[in-house]
């Protein structure tokens, strides 16, 4: 892929227009999506977009602008708008300048897959058709309420007044499906997904098989009375909670602005000593992997929690300079024109005690709930650490055996208790979602708010 923008020329234009320094990023993305609605392929979309953004500084006054553009003229207009903002905004006294250390980490990390990039639309539609066939052959009474298969390929470029350009080509795909089943016993729905950099046909099929099995359980699921017991939280649900509660708390920005419950706790034992949490940008073919961040700084692998002790926060260039230290290479932006904010690459939870099979965890539970699907976990509160989620599919465990499927109950507690004294161990395979990875976790004394 090629980005038809000369970033060096655009940088010079920004400086000529009055910027004392500037930081530019751009990307070109090709993507296609096929969608199923009620067992039928119904919609398809294919598009190419070029995104461009700039941050400029005039002294200590910063402006930013961005958008989707057609080519150079659009980029020049965006630059002029950023300059206009920088001229009229107020000074940021702590402004340290843009990141001066530009480069890639000296590690070969694949984030591009030729297999994904070369997957044609015809092959894409066949993959989705194959999953439809698999569902119908397994159980004709199951409906695919909705499903989508998306493939994208993009090239991202970066430059600032101190170095570059840097560039990286990447691929990604996602497969999402929602199954519904109706029987005389009732109705059930189940949503699952698979995403990654390198197309994993087996993984896609496994996702479909898991969804087929779980939607059949969801039909039989019902609310139960509340109780306090052991919670086994499925790997994808753990990844989701870590992203909502731990990721904001370890951001140096939230720490410095005193919005994080981890402010002032560096070096303290916060979690169970069994737990390590690592930020690892070098996992092959993971969506969070990168050799430089959105400020052009090389990325690095680091322990955030080591044996439960808070070892570091994550820093971008701005937050690092406030503490007189170097960025940890975690300055990532949500879009081309927004300022970076300290964010993880791939954040991985590991436990010193781990059972390979989830079944080995279930047999040890006297009374508990194995939760595989929730809604609303993103409503949990990162300022207090309060967990909230409503279970859409779980399994009641009594005497070491799964008794029955459950839905409509809420799980409530605090992440810093769940991952400290109440934490027992991890179990089963690891799963990564949007750059957060974990196995399932086993937590004791957890509140299940029932019917």
């Amino acid at each position: 892929m090629r980005l038809d923008l000369d970033l060096e020329k655009l940088l010079k234009y920004a400086e000529k227009m009055g910027a004392s320094e500037a930081e530019l990023s751009a990307s070109v993305t090709d993507k296609y999506v096929f969608e199923i609605s009620k067992d039928s392929l119904e919609r398809a979309l294919s598009t190419t977009t070029i995104g461009f953004g700039i941050r400029v500084a005039i002294g200590k006054k910063i402006g930013a602008a961005g958008g989707e553009i057609t080519g150079e003229e659009g980029a020049l207009e965006i630059i002029r708008h950023a300059i206009k903002i920088a001229k009229s905004t107020r000074e940021d006294e702590k402004w340290p300048g843009f990141n001066p250390k530009i480069g890639k980490a000296p590690v070969d990390v694949p984030v591009y897959s030729e297999e994904t990039a070369s997957l044609t639309e015809e092959e894409g539609v066949r993959i989705l058709q194959g999953q439809l066939k698999l569902v119908k052959e397994s159980d004709p009474s199951i409906t695919i309420a909705g499903a989508s298969f998306r493939v994208s390929r993009s090239y991202s470029g970066f430059i600032n007044s101190y170095g570059g350009p840097l560039g990286e080509e990447s691929t990604s795909y996602s497969y999402v499906l929602e199954l519904k089943k109706k029987t005389g016993e009732g109705e059930g729905t189940y949503i699952d997904w698979k995403l990654g950099v390198k197309l994993d046909a087996e993984g896609i099929e496994e996702t479909t098989q898991r969804a087929i099995s779980r939607v059949s359980d969801a039909v039989k699921a019902s609310p139960i009375e509340g109780f306090k017991g052991t919670l086994i939280l499925d790997n994808a649900e753990v990844a989701s909670l870590l992203r909502i509660l731990i990721v904001p708390a370890i951001s140096a920005d939230n720490v410095q602005q005193r919005r994080s419950p981890l402010t002032g706790r560096l070096g303290e034992k916060v979690l169970s000593e069994k737990i390590n949490i690592i930020d690892d940008p070098f996992l092959p073919y993971e969506t969070g992997s990168a050799v430089f961040d959105d400020e052009g700084h090389p990325t690095s692998k680091k322990h955030v929690f080591e044996k439960g002790v808070l070892a570091t926060y994550l820093y971008d260039h701005y937050t690092a300079s406030i503490e007189g230290r170097e960025s940890t290479g975690n300055g990532f932006k949500s879009s081309h024109h927004t300022p970076p904010s300290p964010s993880p690459t791939n954040l991985i939870l590991e436990s010193a005690i781990h059972k390979e099979k989830l079944e080995d965890a279930v047999v040890e539970v006297e009374k508990g709930l194995y939760v595989v699907s929730t809604i609303g976990s993103w409503l949990s509160n990162p300022v207090s650490g309060q967990i909230n989620a409503t279970v859409t599919l779980g399994y009641l465990i009594v005497g070491g055996e799964i008794q029955k499927p459950v839905k409509g109950v809420a799980i409530s507690g605090n992440i810093y208790e769940a991952l400290a004294d109440s934490f027992q161990y991890t179990a089963g395979p690891r799963r990564c979602l949007f750059g957060v990875c974990s196995s399932s976790i086993v937590v004791s004394d957890f509140t299940i708010a029932g019917h």
């Binding site: 609605s37 398809a44 107020r90 708010a449």
Partner: protein
């Protein structure tokens, strides 16, 4: 109208003729010129001041009932033709893959122009004046003892859209939205908590001028401090009085999504096949209204269908669903003007506009007295909600709330979440307040299949006889 829209539109007729030569059933185009400005003030500095723009045209081609989409930002015939042919190729790929076609219901060609009103165009206000607003919000909130951190945001949006199709429709809408937000974090020996308030309106800068910013920020600072000292309630079943902001969340999430025709048609709604059936208390009437003055302004949808007030529930009986032209054909109902896109690049989905419960006859104090013992649930600090429309379950994270003891509001509570089954809650509504409040936001909206659109929601104060509260 902007030059960009004019430039793109000049090729659309040619594109339609080309599509017809290719043998398509139908083609429509969505042209958009979107601008957004955002200022974030964080404790002691302008954290970001940014401007973003999106301009382009998206095509949908319906070929033998299958829908292919593509888009371009390039205002030349080459750019337009490439997008058109891509949409055609995608639609044909679906046709050849087999499946059930999804033809469109008939709808008359209309030509219309509709612009939201404002007094002062917000993009022309000086940068200094805009920055002063967020600075004032932050400094006032931080003056409250116990507040450790405060943030404020200003958001300005101008969204111009033109929808055209080969049946002769041309509908242009032009909407200006202004809003601001303040949040405060407070710390106590019980931990930290946050409260926030946000005000947005389809209007210009006058919204800012008519608001007492100091009072708003002071209230949020004090609320955050109270929340930080508050206790978390025991999890369990409670009688609750819901603030209209929470009612809006509840009705949007709990029923609104389930009434979206694409979910109904794909068997993913708990209220499928329930038209004409009793699904809630006699007191409950619910509408989706594209023109409520305090909501978002959707006079026409992105298919060029007029958005009228749609009755979903009347006196507890399910009366209708929301539908675009494709869902109308599937469900055998009229299009309701709810087919919307996040931007010209995106495919059409059935979305709500302004979804709210109609008011009743109770004063707020009467609702609290009738609750007797329970919780008054408010929205300042609410984090939103999520629903499984197929299973009928929902969950909401609400804001700082209050105990109701012996018919009176007493001490604050934090960490309150509401959870349950959609239809149980509608059946358990015991009384409605007499004033209607509808809210929208320039900072967020409703997310579905990766698309965020602006919506509004609300209702009166509502007394619910029983709801599950997640707490300790």
């Amino acid at each position: 109208m902007s030059d960009i829209i004019t430039g793109l539109e000049s090729y659309v007729e040619k594109a339609f003729r080309k599509a017809e030569e290719l043998g398509v059933d139908f083609i429509d185009a969505r042209i958009q010129d979107y601008r957004y400005e955002s200022i974030v003030y964080d404790n002691d500095r302008v954290k970001s001041y940014s401007y973003t723009t999106t301009t382009g045209v998206g095509f949908r081609i319906v070929y033998k009932g299958f829908h292919g989409y593509s888009s371009t930002t390039i205002p030349t015939w080459e750019g337009i033709e490439k997008a058109l042919l891509t949409a055609y190729r995608m639609a044909k790929a679906l046709y050849h893959a087999g499946g059930e076609p999804s033809p469109l219901a008939e709808y008359p060609a209309i030509r219309a122009y509709s612009r939201s009103g404002y007094i002062k165009y917000p993009f022309e206000i000086s940068d200094d004046e805009k920055i002063e607003v967020v600075k004032t919000l932050v400094s006032t909130a931080k003056e409250v003892k116990g507040v450790v951190s405060a943030t404020a945001r200003l958001g300005l949006q101008h969204d111009k859209r033109v929808v055209l199709n080969n049946e002769g429709t041309r509908v242009e809408t032009d909407v200006v939205l202004t809003g601001f937000f303040v949040s405060a974090v407070a710390r106590s020996d019980k931990g930290m908590e946050m409260a926030y308030d946000s005000k947005s309106k389809v209007s210009g800068w006058e919204l800012v001028e008519y608001t007492d910013l100091n009072a708003m920020a002071n209230e949020i600072g004090e609320l955050a401090v109270k929340a930080a000292h508050a206790t978390v309630p025991e999890a369990g079943k409670y009688r609750v009085v819901l603030h209209p902001e929470v009612v809006g969340l509840l009705v949007h999430e709990a029923l609104g999504h389930a009434s979206e025709g694409d979910l109904v048609a794909s068997d993913a709604s708990v209220i499928k096949d329930k038209l004409g059936q009793k699904i809630g208390s006699d007191l409950v009437s619910i509408v989706d209204d594209g023109r409520h003055p305090d909501g978002y302004y959707v006079p026409f949808d992105d298919e060029g269908v007029e958005k009228k007030k749609t009755t979903i529930v009347e006196n507890g009986v399910l009366k209708g669903y929301l539908a675009g032209r494709a869902e109308s054909q599937k469900l055998g109902i009229d299009p309701t003007g709810n087919s919307r896109v996040m931007s010209y690049q995106h495919p059409l989905l059935v979305r709500q506009t302004n979804y709210y419960i109609l008011p009743g006859d109770h004063a707020f104090d009467e609702l609290v007295q009738e609750a007797k013992d329970g919780i008054y649930v408010t929205g300042k600090g609410a984090r939103g909600g999520e629903v499984d429309p197929g299973a009928g379950t929902f969950t909401f994270g609400v804001g700082v709330s209050w105990k109701i003891e012996n018919g009176e509001i007493t001490t604050p509570l934090r960490g309150v979440t509401l959870t349950g089954m959609i239809l149980d809650v509608l059946r358990n509504i015991e009384a409605l307040g007499k004033d209607l409040h509808v809210y929208t936001s320039v900072f967020g909206g409703c997310g579905k299949s990766g698309q965020l659109v602006r919506v509004g929601d609300g209702g009166p104060y509502v007394l619910v006889g029983e709801i599950i509260v997640g707490g300790r």
